[in-house]
């Protein structure tokens, strides 16, 4: 009898111990709920940023692991604003399939991965889009030798390579269905696999955002043998995304991006930012932290925007460095300021 009792007590204690573990765990999740992303970021000392697995111009790592691109610059701007150092970013390369789960599960705090802003993504799945850092549209790339000059020349049975889990998959169906053309979608999880399959002749055409086509073309074995067709079949406003439920963090990311765009509008760049402190224009003075208390609203100091401009530069500098000078898309097209005929227009920082 004593032996049995002993056995039962032993089992009971193990159960109690397990409960202790469970409760400890649940109180911890309670605490995490209250603390803001910003506090955690400051405590951690770096911004956790989700990027692509390598898309030149947007987010691409070189041999030594340095990330560059306009999507990367958004995260760097947030790091400069919140931590004072644009290099304090930990980049997590994500496939299109993984990206939203990584954000909603809290693995990353900003998703800056050429992601299209759509209603269902914004409303349904616990995400909030904070703005647009690149206006894009879906296009098709074909082999030059095919003689195809327009999407109207696609015939029944065309095989199309593209990425899994993207708006591209949906647009492609809308496009071919509305024209009554039957096609064979070949969808891969990684962009590199798509490029490899298209390059090998598995597919007649490769479709994704036009900026992506321009960037991926450079990875083909003979880039000059391929051409991007002129038609754009969709609207793809690409921008950074944050988790729903932390509106302060959302504002920080939104206004970090807006600061870069507005700085270009007012002619403030990384080399003249300090001098602009003595400008006569109050809007410029606000932009470099010399007037007003703009940072206080986010719990940041007053020079948060100055640091963004000094360390990362304005939007124009970022575009030139990453997209124009690399030969991906020398022409800014719609991604030009509204004052210069483009559609980049941000609310005033005041």
């Amino acid at each position: 009898m004593r032996k049995i009792m002993f056995k039962i007590i032993k089992q009971l204690t193990s159960v109690v111990a397990m409960f202790a573990v469970l409760f400890a765990f649940s109180t911890e999740t309670m605490a995490a709920k209250k603390s803001k992303t910003l506090e955690n970021t400051k405590k951690r000392g770096f911004v956790r940023c989700g990027v692509s697995q390598g898309l030149p111009g947007f987010s691409n790592a070189d041999e030594s692991g340095n990330w560059t691109g306009i999507d990367v610059d958004v995260c760097r701007a947030v790091a400069a604003a919140t931590l004072g150092d644009a290099t304090k970013v930990k980049f997590t390369p994500l496939s299109a399939k993984e990206r939203f789960t990584a954000l909603t599960s809290g693995e990353i705090d900003i998703l800056s991965r050429n992601t299209t802003w759509t209603l269902s993504r914004d409303a349904d799945i616990g995400l909030t889009f904070v703005g647009v850092n690149f206006y894009d549209g879906q296009g098709f790339m074909v082999r030059k030798g095919s003689g195809i000059a327009s999407t109207s020349e696609f015939k029944n049975g065309t095989s199309v390579c593209t990425n899994l889990g993207t708006t591209t998959e949906l647009n492609m169906r809308d496009f071919f269905d509305s024209r009554g053309i039957s096609y064979e979608p070949v969808v891969f999880e990684k962009a590199d696999e798509v490029v490899a399959a298209y390059d090998a002749g598995r597919c007649d055409t490769y479709t994704t955002d036009k900026s992506g086509l321009a960037a991926q073309r450079t990875k083909l074995s003979a880039p000059d043998d391929h051409v991007v067709l002129p038609e754009t079949i969709s609207k793809e406003p690409l921008g950074p995304v944050v988790r729903q439920g932390d509106s302060v963090w959302e504002d920080i990311v939104r206004w970090s991006l807006n600061t870069m765009i507005e700085a270009e509008e007012y002619g403030v760049n990384s080399s003249n930012a300090d001098m602009m402190k003595t400008s006569n224009n109050p809007a410029i003075k606000r932009l470099v932290g010399a007037e007003g208390e703009l940072g206080a609203a986010f719990g940041l100091d007053n020079e948060w925007n100055l640091r963004i401009i000094k360390q990362v530069g304005n939007y124009g500098e970022s575009y030139k460095r990453n997209i124009a000078d690399t030969g991906i898309l020398p022409d800014r097209g719609p991604n030009e300021l509204w004052t210069k005929g483009g559609i980049l227009y941000v609310p005033p920082a005041r």
Partner: protein, 383 residues
């Protein structure tokens, strides 16, 4: 009383513990989802999927529901598993028997085959077949015909399609043939048990299987025509075969990798099974005057099968689960279509992943149940 405590309390505690853990996990997920504004529910299954799938066994288009997309993925998973299981079994039996051969060359090549394919990770083998082997194939316009009417190209394997008339009559005849074979076999075994007479069952079976369906062509109005794939121009430099059936290279690569890999394990099960039957059995059977064929069929195999079936079941289950690696090479299986595209488009991660997990569980348990039934059937029947 003591006994009751001893027997039940630990079990009740264990069950309670499991229930509590699951309850906690559910609750935790629920709170976190609430916090992030994610709804939980399965309503999305009836919504329009609005994406297309490359290869499907049933009619499917983007205007069908997510539930139908699930079915498409499931059928593709079952298709690739089914084909691979059959091929790996045939290959496995041949290689397993070959390993026991007394011929030095056969024995050692079989051993090399097993060691080679068993010890390279499956994902790498899939990549090899897809990215290396199949990529070396010609473009459609340069492909040579295999067997006159089939074309192996980088875009897939094109084979003639069968166009049936009165297919149902043909199928009924086939069914009738199978039923009559079963009846005949039962009759033959009764005849053997009661009167000791033997009739050539195999010969009759084959004859039935050929003659009955053949009759349906002559009297049943059944006709069969082949639609042969023909080259069609898509643009100046790009071609495709139209008509006939196209097996995508993704399917072929996956079947090759899965069946070659798993056949090595099946081969080892077969070898173990045959070696597990004691030598005395064989010698005793030979000494009562059975021919070598009869020894294998009546004495060795029935005993060996009992050893072979359980581990082979495991291999079939592994193969089915491994087929989810399809997602790596764009074969639209359950994981790619449902846990990939559908998950991305709806954002219903928890729902879709649980449905997918339950589906694999169900497939595995079904295969296990079938194999257990077969194992029961061939068990020693104590008389």
């Amino acid at each position: 009383m003591n006994n009751i405590i001893k027997r039940f309390i630990p079990q009740i505690l264990a069950i309670l513990f499991v229930v509590l853990i699951f309850g906690f996990l559910t609750l935790n997920a629920q709170t976190n989802m609430d916090n992030r504004g994610i709804d939980f529910g399965f309503d999305f299954l009836s919504q329009e999927s609005s994406f297309d799938v490359q290869f499907s066994l049933i009619e499917y288009s983007g205007s069908d529901s997510y539930a139908r997309a699930f079915l498409v993925g499931l059928l593709n998973t079952l298709l690739v598993s089914f084909i691979s299981i059959i091929i790996c079994t045939i290959l496995g039996v041949i290689i397993g028997v070959a390993r026991l051969s007394s011929n030095y060359l056969i024995k050692n090549s079989a051993a090399w085959y097993v060691e080679f394919f068993r010890n390279i990770p499956l994902l790498l083998q899939i990549f090899f077949w897809y990215y290396a082997a199949l990529r070396a194939l010609p473009m459609p316009e340069k492909a040579n015909a295999w067997f006159g009417v089939t074309y192996m190209t980088v875009k897939g394997y094109y084979i003639p399609a069968m166009v049936w008339e009165n297919l149902n009559v043909f199928l009924y005849c086939g069914l009738a043939a199978i039923i009559s074979i079963i009846v005949m076999r039962n009759y033959a075994s009764r005849l053997r048990d009661t009167q000791g007479k033997q009739i050539p069952v195999l010969l009759y079976s084959v004859a039935l299987l050929i003659v009955l369906p053949l009759l349906s062509f002559i009297f049943g109005g059944v006709s069969l025509e082949f639609e042969i794939p023909e080259l069609k121009k898509l643009s100046k430099i790009s071609y495709i075969y139209e008509g006939g059936i196209s097996l995508p290279p993704e399917l072929i690569a996956l079947v090759l990798a899965l069946s070659l890999y798993t056949s090595t394990f099946v081969a080892e099960c077969v070898r173990a099974g045959i070696e597990g039957v004691s030598k005395g059995q064989k010698e005793a059977a030979a000494s009562v005057g059975l021919t070598p064929n009869q020894v294998l069929k009546l004495v060795i195999m029935p005993q060996a099968l009992r050893i072979i079936i359980p581990p082979t079941t495991n291999q079939y289950l592994n193969l089915t689960k491994n087929s989810s690696l399809a997602a790596a090479i764009a074969y639209p299986d359950l994981v790619l279509v449902f846990a990939g595209t559908a998950l991305m488009q709806t954002g219903k991660a928890i729902e879709i992943v649980s449905i997918t997990m339950l589906t694999y569980l169900t497939i595995s348990l079904t295969i296990a149940a079938i194999m257990n039934w077969y194992n029961k059937k061939i068990e020693i029947k104590e008389k």
